[in-house]
Amino acid sequence: MTASLELTDLHKSFGPAKIIQGVNLSVARGERHAIIGPNGAGKSTLFNLISGRFMPSSGEVRLNGALISGKKPFEINRMGLSRSFQVSNIFTNMTVRENVRCGVLHSMGYGYSFWRNIGNLREVSEKTAHILNEVGLLEKGNTPAALLPYADQRTLEIAITIAGGAEVILLDEPTAGMSHSETDRAVALIEKASKGKTLLIVEHDMGVVFNLADRISVLVYGEIIATGTPEQIRGDARVREAYLGEEAEDAA
């Protein structure tokens, strides 16, 4: 069985700065995989490489066996990979409902359609309603996105990401800046939304990571120094040395 997402010897440098230096990673279908690492380790860059925002300097990214590195973001998205952003990246001048609807449209086959009234697209409405309900924003459907509280904006970010029904979902620090109760709700949502899907998540909150992930990879200075189950990672000496120890102390 081919892996859902497979990175082979991925490199990325900006001028002389080598940010990603030979990352190899394989995420199986249905797996929830977390990437952790200290600030500046290249986690966001890695996401940008996978999702097509940046072009890799060398190496390959494969989605379900198909080569996606070098493709444009929208092409990758259409092949079934969707991502969220660390800083909320929503359509601020639109309502919550319209935001989600934008995420739904393409997957329902309404490419660049200009001959249909968007209000009459029943399946789109139903799917939008479904997603809104799932993330718990249904009541706030007509609120302009810019007026949402921060945590709701983060939720909306996730909602747009999962709206298209992609099989592989990349979440970039979905709970950053949230309170405890908000984080708990977000984790529950992520668990629910990623059921039956492949999830790759970057997260700083170790609680979230160890709760959610089937497997964890540790990225330090552009290299994956360890991959394994949460228990293996917790027990890995190199990880402790390089990174986890300090973090764990901080958290405590």
Binding site: S51, K72, F91, T92, N93, C102, G103, Y112, F114
Partner: protein
């Protein structure tokens, strides 16, 4: 599950709301168009109304770019011009009346303009829409300069300086309109203006229309929900060109002539100003802008030689203080009234109105006196029997005191309102 659909259904506008918010305004617009002739407007008024109709469609097409897609173009007149030129050529083929063309009614010219505008948009938009923001604006400027220059170079297509004229009375009649007298042309313009308004409004309700707004707000995110923002812009650009071409087709029938300067930067700048002054955030903004600016462009010059200066002052004023334009004022006022807040704000409104009137008094005094002084015919500005020469201290008093007082009042009003 049914509970969820019910909640969602409650989010969507109800039938009655849709009817009230979308259908009623369109019906009202149609009624206004139908009722205008009952007032027996003079021929020059009808001519002006016809030009307003043309400008409305043109401005709406421009706002598809500026307001909806966030694309600032300095060359939109190119598409109206090319659409109009094509329509003028078609009119001449119709006049020759052989074969297929003999059966084409002049009434259908805007449809031909629509096609030609779309084609021009498709060709020129291909390279231009690969960028957005300032590069797009600069490309549109360069393209406009190039096309305008070509307009003077290829006489067989553009007729050189004198342009190409045609006769709107050729071809088979449609709906019993000979299109000879200008009041018959009114019905033609009214029909197509309505189609233009309907068409551009319908466009905002399509998936592509929504995506163009999404692309304006956040082109990056659009890419990550499966759309190519360049493609979105390109398609919107083609539609904007098409509706501009339609306005060109209307203009071809109304004026029966097209000249190369209709491709130049001047009409492009004028439509930018009209649209912006009207208000680019609202669908109806460009309509208001088109009506106001067409009227002022043709009639303000009857009252004062300084009309360009007034127009410039108004534009700068709108950019600085009213980014939502005329429509912003109209809807803002309506919202306040509907919310029943008139009681709270009437004092600051009154103060602001009085302040603006005072500022206007000073500005008009200064401009009028300055223009008369500049011309040097010894003419004197004499409003209400006052003799305002440059040596009259009253002139200076009127030029300065109301201005200062007015500014203070407006600032106080603004402070009062923000409280």
């Amino acid at each position: 599950m049914t509970d969820m659909t019910a909640t969602y259904a409650a989010l969507e506008p109800t039938r009655a709301e849709k009817f009230r918010q979308r259908t009623v305004p369109l019906i009202l617009f149609a009624v206004v168009l139908l009722v205008i002739p009952l007032f027996n407007p003079s021929r020059s008024m009808v001519t002006l109304l016809n030009h307003m109709g043309i400008t409305i469609v043109f401005a709406l097409s421009y706002n598809m770019l500026l307001g909806r897609a966030g694309l600032l173009s300095f060359g939109h007149a190119v598409y109206m011009g090319l659409g109009g030129y094509f329509a003028v050529h078609v009119m001449n083929w119709v006049a020759e009346g052989s074969g297929f063309w003999g059966a084409v009614p002049i009434f259908s010219m805007p449809a031909f303009g629509f096609g030609a505008g779309a084609l021009a948009g498709a060709i020129i938009g291909w390279p231009s829409c690969r960028r957005s923001g300032t590069p797009f604006a600069m490309i549109s400027l360069g393209v406009a300069e190039l096309v305008a220059a070509a307009g003077f170079m290829f006489d067989s297509l553009f007729g050189g300086e004198m342009g190409i004229s045609a006769d709107r009375m050729g071809g088979p009649e449609f709906a019993g309109l000979s299109l000879g007298p200008v009041d018959e042309v009114y019905w033609f313009i009214a029909f197509w203006t309505f189609i233009g308004v309907l068409g551009t409004y319908a466009f905002t309700r399509t998936p592509l229309g929504k995506l163009s707004e999404a692309t304006r707000d956040n082109p990056e995110r659009v890419e990550f929900v499966g759309y190519n923002p360049q493609r979105v812009r390109y398609l919107v650009f083609i539609f904007a060109g098409a509706f501009a071409g339609m306005a060109g087709g209307m203009s071809a029938v109304q004026d029966e002539i097209f000249t190369p300067e209709s491709l130049s930067l001047i009409p492009s700048g004028a439509i930018l100003i009209a649209t912006y002054v009207g208000g680019i955030r609202y669908f109806t903004g460009p309509i208001m802008g088109a009506i106001v600016m067409t009227y002022m462009g043709s009639n303000l010059s009857d009252y004062t030689v300084g009309w360009l200066l007034y127009l410039g002052l108004m534009f700068v004023g709108v950019v600085m203080f009213l980014p939502n334009g005329i429509a912003g004022i109209v809807y803002g006022t309506a919202d306040t009234l509907r919310a029943g807040r008139l009681g709270e704000v009437w004092q600051s409104w009154l103060l602001r109105l009085a302040g603006l009137a005072l500022i206007a008094t000073s500005v008009i005094t200064i401009v009028e006196v300055a223009f008369r002084w500049s011309e040097g015919y010894g003419e004197v500005f004499e409003p209400f029997g006052l003799h305002l020469g440059t040596d009259n201290p009253l002139t200076w008093a009127l030029g300065v005191l109301p201005l200062v007082l007015g500014v203070v009042m407006v600032m106080k009003a603004a402070k009062g309102e923000s409280k």
